[in-house]
Symmetry: C2
Subunit: 439 residues, 2 copies
């Protein structure tokens, strides 16, 4: 059991009181936070068997949580942006033509590198070949929820419509009880899943005590078709099926009525907010402050690498704050502290992991990230929250730890090599370019 001491850090615990230790430390024993506090609390403590890490005045926060992505789509990043109807024009055809087990793994491996280098320690991934993707995550050392996406058409890895349900039944049994790989169910959307299969998926999640995620109230056509067919908003429709509960993670949620938000609040639904992806697609702004006022938990996410396009959470911090300030015409809407809570403890709540991660507290798992403050954008520091949210970028992350294991040190990966995962990623590029050129 390795013992580690991280010291000389501005520690933002993100606990209930947002406790800050200006010159603080965190002690790690095995995969657990042993204790933390101000450095003077260490006087007289026997530290001879601790490996020491001097954070050099950097900012130490809980590892960030990305509540929604499709990591393997990394292989498509920067392809066909700024194009109308790209889901049908590019994404679905590309996936059909290109996405093999190997391609999915190559994208995921590279994504894990980017997530860890950006201080993300936990991610909710929904894609295809998810068993391989989870194996890759296990090797990379990252924590997360993993779901085979359920759709009503033949998909990569499952030739039958709704094949994702059978994949997930097996997946859940295989991974149940794993320390870092947590199964979840992900039904793509109401326009790619019928009511019968949404109920089936919901039962699968409920019976196994795992989360159910879904793209909800994201698309204008989704809204229009649902109102036309059922006379209901998508949220009202899902509620009528009985699938909305405190296990349900609604992703995107840009088209919400007041009534929809009330339903979320009464059912205990959580929301995964994807500000960069929604903005890049020209969608409405998710009504985060109104959801929060109702007590709905909202965590941050990036969506897949074709959508945002980066998958770190640091770049989402200023955007999440600023979009709510615009939407509310109020410079105080979503303060820096609130944005960072959405990126950490609120994200952990969305994923049902807040008893384990999301804040730096004694007894929780040792998932954390350190931002160096030596780069030009990080000075002066009158307030560490403002520096993190309005100035930092993912390249400022110097150390990332998951489950007590240091996976990024001095801005470099410790277990994998960036050049290796890049070579694996770029090996796909010529073939993908050729396919895309014909779309």
């Amino acid at each position: 059991m390795a013992k580690l001491l991280l010291h000389n850090a501005v520690v933002l615990t993100m606990d209930k009181q947002n406790t800050v230790y200006d010159k603080g430390y965190v002690r790690v024993n095995g995969n657990t936070i042993e204790d933390l506090g101000s450095e003077e609390g260490l006087s007289g403590v026997d530290l001879h068997d601790y490996e020491r890490h001097d954070c050099k005045g950097g900012i130490l926060i809980p590892g960030m949580v990305n509540t929604h992505t499709h990591n393997s789509m990394m292989v498509f990043r920067s392809l066909g942006d700024d194009v109308q109807d790209r889901l049908n024009r590019y994404i679905f055809p590309l996936e059909k033509e290109v996405m093999t087990r190997e391609t999915a793994a190559a994208g995921a491996n590279y994504a894990y590198a980017e997530l860890l280098l950006g201080g993300v320690t936990c991610v909710f991934d929904a894609y295809y070949y998810e068993h391989d993707i989870a194996l890759a995550a296990e090797r990379a050392g990252i924590r997360g929820l993993f779901s085979e996406t359920i759709v009503n058409f033949p998909a990569p890895g499952s030739p039958e419509p709704y094949g994702g349900i059978a994949v997930m039944e097996e997946f859940i049994q295989h991974w149940k009880g794993h320390e870092r790989i947590v199964p979840a169910v992900f039904s793509h959307a109401m326009y790619t899943n019928d009511s019968e299969h949404l109920k089936l998926s919901h039962r699968l999640a409920r019976e196994n005590g795992v989360k159910m995620g879904m793209h909800v109230a994201e698309m204008d056509h989704e809204q229009e078709a649902c109102l036309k067919e059922y006379g209901k908003t998508p949220v009202e429709y899902l509620d009528s099926l009985g699938v909305l509960d405190d296990n349900f993670i609604a992703v995107h949620c840009v088209n919400l009525s007041e009534g929809d938000m009330d339903i979320f609040a009464s059912r205990g639904v959580s929301v995964s907010h994807n500000p960069g992806s929604n903005a890049k697609a020209g969608r409405k702004i998710c009504p985060v402050t109104q959801l929060q006022k109702r007590g709905v938990t909202v965590g941050l996410a990036t969506d897949g690498p074709m959508s945002n396009n980066t998958i770190d959470i640091v770049t989402q911090l200023p955007l999440a704050a600023k979009l709510q300030k615009i939407a509310n015409h109020d410079r105080c809407a979503i303060s820096a502290v609130e944005a960072l809570r959405m990126a950490t403890i609120e994200g952990a709540k969305v994923l049902g992991l807040d008893s384990v991660i999301g804040s730096l507290e004694k007894g929780k798992r040792a998932d954390m990230a350190v931002f160096e403050t030596e780069s030009v954008n990080m000075s002066p520091m009158y307030d560490p929250y403002y520096v993190l949210v309005y100035s930092a970028n993912p390249s400022n992350v110097s150390l990332t730890m998951v489950d007590g294991e240091i996976l990024v040190k001095d801005k470099a990966l410790t277990k994998t090599s960036l050049s290796e995962v890049r070579a694996e990623l770029l090996a796909q590029q010529a073939h993908i370019s050729g396919v895309a050129a014909k779309l």
Copy 2:
């Protein structure tokens, strides 16, 4: 006269045709671009007296242009964010109490480091003690427009109301004809300048052939007071004074009517768009696409370091694109190419320098920036514009050149030391904290 060859780069020229050289080079002779093109064009060319810089497949673009900032406010960055009415509560009192010639220079020196490290080669700065700030810019090697801010109250450096006008008269005479330090007039706003002095300032600018900048249609109280007092929008009011012309740079412009935009178009006014600052303040979104449709030139800016808070332009690229996509409910509004044009050639047009900088063309000044593509966020690269606008961050800038001089190499400053300018900046922090604590 130094001769330089930058090669093995994806060259985005930002010329009229947006010419791209996938494996390109730029040759520099003294302060001028000698020629550029695809690498095969170099075969047979005698290059023995050229210093070679291998860009290693990086993206080479024209130096970015920041059309509005108050650099010296760097000393206040991360102080009092997310606070209502911070202009009156923090900014004006802090400036009154704290801002000396030395403090202004310390802030500017640090700002030049951040600008250059982020690939900004030209900046429009408006502040106080501007002569010292211009001297510091001359030493740093950056290019820009520099203005003493004109306000109706005693300001740092000029104890008389409107003292900035006299300062600028002298400043213009002193710096006229300088290669990189370009004088300009900056009247703070219509709520801090009366009509008589706005006309005086306009005459000063016109007679000396320099630009006139001003915060316009930024504040709700500005809009309300102007309508109440004059029965006119701020733009209509300024037009009635005769100060709007093709020399005028209107900064912010978040509260614009259709009529205001028509006035800008007919008078040839240019707009400095500050997406990050406006968003952080919870203001409306500047109607960029509607201005552009009328032929109004729009460049990018950050505003001062208390407002955005970083002053690089890279972080404004995705924000500029995404806010227009949201405002227009259209994922194709402001494409990546258009965002990069606003950051380069359109910004140069705003500042009246597009015959000299803003694009990579034979005979223009050698102002440019190189982004390395080895960091995790920069792969894969199906399209360099999408990579730059949706994935890059300022830490990816590896080389910055102004006027043929390499000022950043391998991500480090060549003429100044970051640790020195940081020490100078942080020396102010204790005093400023003390003053701010009483506000």
